[in-house]
Amino acid sequence: MSEHQPHVTVKQYYGVFVALMVLLVVTILLAMVHLGALNTPVAMTVATIKTVLVMTYFMHLRYAARLVWLFAGAGAVWMAMLVGGTLNDYESRGWFTGRLGSVPVGEFQGVGTSEAIQLRSGSMPAAPGALDAAESVHREGRTKD
């Protein structure tokens, strides 16, 4: 390795390690405190701080080329798109009514059973219990994976 290139020192490694262990304890303690809806964002934030420390020092991003930073961040950004886009659907259920409005998350009544199908489509099943009977035939009759 070139002599002039800066790199992370052993002291910095130990320092980051201590910080990580402290943050681990913080995570556990904070989880035991009732913060309501904030518990999850707080836990994720602490995890992210730990992640940034590991990536910057243990994984040498501190002294890496800018392009490498871009690749390092891309995974996180793309995951945010996946989670964001999916939760965008679930959290906005029930905002609008009408043919395309769907049932809000949390109001499912036994998804997959005859009641739920009735709730969603507004129609009666063929006979009470008929759907459940047909369902068990399909489940048990499977021979291939």
Binding site: F17, M21, L24, T27, W78
Partner: protein
């Protein structure tokens, strides 16, 4: 750091690159891109978990309470230690310190194995409690103990299914990481450690740190939901 091996280190510059700096940049970029794919693989699993946690909140809280938070916390500590030893191993490789490299690689592997041992003992505990939702294993979740009716008790299977899927995929990555470390160990034992041939250790270190990072998110997500 004299060593008595006579074997030559494998030549570091490969034919398609013009110089070693280009090769090192390419290797680093390649590994970071691969790590991005791993983030997205786990990302798909995390998304599934977040959605179901939102949809079946009570069942997930109840199931989470049956997990061993202390064991998980210890495992997190073990992995953080292993990240330290791995970072120090990379440093030893860059400094051409062969003995330190071998010692630190071994330490990282021991810590990794410790993680897996603790993890599998957790799995064994779940087996005894009949919380493994796999075909052929009797599953029983005592809903009454956690204030759940029968239908919601069935929903805990989703939690446990995802718990085993996510920690299982993570454990599979640990096995791959341990395999890579043993290859590095053999390499360090066989060939001289020079200031020129440290890149395999460095990029394997990146992979190892990713395994740690995934667990840094897995732990609060799976073990620390609404503990109060």
């Amino acid at each position: 750091m004299s060593d008595t091996t006579t074997a030559h280190a494998p030549s570091t510059l490969v034919h398609q690159f013009d110089d070693i700096e280009q090769q090192r940049l390419a290797d680093t970029m390649g590994m970071w891109l691969f790590l991005a794919t791993e983030v997205l693989l786990f990302g798909g699993l995390f998304t599934t978990f977040f959605v179901y946690r939102s949809m079946h909140h009570e069942a997930f809280i109840a199931a989470c309470q049956t997990l061993d938070m202390v064991g998980g916390g210890i495992n997190t500590g073990v992995l953080l230690c292993s990240s330290l030893t791995m970072a120090l191993a990379v440093h030893a490789a860059q400094s051409a310190d062969r003995r330190k490299l071998i010692a630190l690689l071994l330490a990282t592997m021991v810590l990794g194995l410790a993680f897996l041992v603790i993890k599998f003992s957790e799995y064994a505990h779940k087996y005894h409690e009949h919380h493994i939702p796999i075909r052929g294993m009797a599953f029983h979740f005592d809903g009454e103990e956690h204030g759940l009716d029968a239908a919601h008790a069935e929903e805990t299977k989703l939690f446990y299914g995802l718990y085993f899927a996510m920690t299982g995929v993570h454990a599979a990555h640990m096995f791959i990481g341990l395999t890579i470390l043993s290859i590095l160990l053999v390499r360090a034992l066989r060939y001289p450690t020079t200031t020129e041939n440290y890149m395999p250790v460095e990029i394997s270190g990146l992979y190892w740190h990713l395994i740690d990072l995934v667990w840094i998110y897995l732990y609060p997500t799976l073990y620390l939901i609404d503990l109060h």
